[in-house]
Symmetry: C2
Subunit: 373 residues, 2 copies
């Protein structure tokens, strides 16, 4: 008998772990990749496509859903699961990352952040309490606290002050939804920019608060890959080992394996879905730009080692034709393939961890991707 929030580690291999996290809509086996479903829909896919892909959990964007169709409308529909037809677990971000990306359209204070909608310029305010209330309306299985995502290049003084604000906001989120008050989980977020000591300080403060899981935020915001990895590797072991660890918005297949190696359990990124719509496809033989003329008469499957719908049913020549002709089916097939790649990657990592061969698994993937990233 498991309860919402239960986190059982099934096996470890070095720092890497394979675990199970119980949510109100099912148990997730980690390491897990979460496809991004911005407005209650993973772009170009139906919920049944996601089921066929064996997606375990998807991510919804609080900012976007608040703007359109509105969290109260979603609540009146019975929540995001009922509204969208996806009955599996859903994690919602806090909207902070999107709001802090609205350059020049936002104003931060102790109380929260004022911003203007990217759609109609209307004025809105997110407080820690407000983003919890929105995520309660959405009915996600995992909610995230409001945090300030410090821009890349921020100096140490600003970053230090900001991490304090992020901690105070995190505490207010927790207070607005005390542990055990419902079957939604709430995760804290560690910030601290690109300063190891500030990351340590933020981790101390955030991990002192009783969350159901802990995330690393503020990475993949423009920094170099070595710097990202450096901060990630520094921060991951500072998060409690007995709770899920989530690396937000990262990244490429190799980034994800680096994260798993450092003990991260959960990942999300728009790369597979966005790249699919740009015609950039991840395969076991490296990255493929399906637009290229060389695929015009190529009757082979996109990836001979892939058993996704696109690869088992269509040729490179047809996929290229669909993409060139801007047929809508191209976006669906490409998205199915790329998500299959990322989901298979993390599933394979879980298997490898349980079998004590994660390093070999990572090296095999790296051999393909090292030159293709």
């Amino acid at each position: 008998m498991t309860n919402t929030g239960d986190f059982h580690i099934l096996g470890t291999d070095g720092q890497a772990r394979c675990a199970e996290l119980t949510t109100a809509h099912g148990t997730i086996r980690t390491p897990v990749f979460m496809p991004v479903g911005t407005v209650g829909c993973v772009k170009a896919l139906s919920p049944d496509d996601l089921t066929a892909l064996k997606a375990q959990i998807i991510l919804g964007n609080t900012y976007h859903l608040y703007i359109l169709p509105g969290d109260e409308l979603v609540a009146r529909r019975g929540g995001l699961h009922t509204f969208s037809g996806w009955d599996g677990p859903i994690l919602t971000d806090s909207g902070g990352f999107q709001v802090f990306s609205l350059q020049g359209l936002r104003k931060i204070s102790e109380d929260g952040v004022e911003f203007r909608s990217h759609r109609d310029g209307s004025k809105h305010f997110f407080s820690p309490e407000k983003v919890v209330s929105i995520q309660r309306n959405l009915g996600s299985d995992i909610m995230m606290v409001l945090d300030e995502c410090v821009p890349y290049g921020a100096d140490k003084e600003y970053t230090a002050q900001s991490l304090g604000l992020t901690t105070r906001w995190a505490a207010r989120c927790r207070a607005a939804y005390p542990q055990g008050s419902g079957n939604q989980l709430l995760f804290g977020i560690v910030q601290g920019g690109f300063f190891q000591d500030l990351r340590s300080e933020s981790a101390r403060q955030i991990c002192d608060l009783p969350f159901d899981g802990y995330a690393i935020g503020g990475l993949s915001v423009g920094e170099s890959k070595p710097l990202m990895l450096d901060i990630m590797r520094h921060t991951a072991p500072l998060l409690p080992a007995d709770k899920p660890r989530y690396l937000m918005g990262v990244g490429t297949p190799m980034d994800i394996l680096d994260g798993i190696e450092a003990g991260i359990d959960m990942f999300d990124c728009v790369l597979p879905t966005r790249n699919a719509r740009n015609g950039t496809l991840y395969t076991s033989l490296g990255k493929v730009n399906i637009k290229r003329a060389e695929y015009k008469e190529d009757d082979r499957p996109l990836d001979p080692n892939c058993d996704c719908y696109a690869c088992t049913r269509f040729s490179r020549a047809y996929l290229r034709h669909l993409y060139t002709a801007r047929e809508l089916l191209a976006y669906r097939l490409n998205t199915i393939h790329n998500l299959h790649y990322f989901l298979t990657l993390t599933h394979g990592a879980a298997q490898a961890i349980l079998q004590g061969r994660f390093a070999t698994y990572k090296a095999e993937v790296q051999a393909v991707h090292a030159h293709a990233e």
Copy 2:
């Protein structure tokens, strides 16, 4: 044991007929609606979506496929069936309609029609022999002859001359692919504009040639509905009763039932697919514009009497949200629904004919659609 081209009438009800036409990729039961798959793909759908919809036959556009990806490339892939993954029957038009729509970009002579590509302005030439050759390369089950689609408003003298040219082109198409020379069928097309006597003359000339089926072309080109129906009703009975009759590019649900009543067996039209992408949906309760604010909080299925994927799985509120957010899934779901409507409409007509209650069936549909057209 049936052979390609066999046409068996299973039952009649007035002029309306229910029949079976055998093609190289399967037997079609008529009356039948053919979804339009312009470049080897019904927009937003996979071939498996079409199978789930019980689509019997789809239409490909010779002009578009000739331009992109090119008929020779398709031939090298093994034909349109292998290339696209749709293994059911395919009808290809002759490209004439598209070419004659390229205003100012084309020049007609006895030999054929010169035109410029809408994509890159390059110069091309379609002769009757050329369009047969293209359709042979595509490997469609039913090929159409090259015809001149006279613009609406053309005078009687021009129309009379043009129908002669259409007949000479039809004879050349037949000569380029004599009956019995392969397992692709070839249909003739009756023209004659909006003059009953010219339609009669064209029907006499075209039906004198040995085709596997006969089509009415040149309708739905800007004329009023009464005029379209008048010409259609005049022409349909002039076509041989023992061959399939095809009304090209028409039309609304009521147009299709009017056609069936006049003895037409086959229909194609972009209305269901194009309207789906515009948010206009056909339902058993009339037309629905899914963009309307009234559906914002409407948890009912789009059409309570429909068992398509969109109606059984999602609410009007979610369909409206997807459409408003311009999510790609909206186009797929709307297309599935509208095609389901048209395919169910013609399937229901076939059943009604076999049961001798076509007039009642038509009146029932009319009661819903009379005010909604």
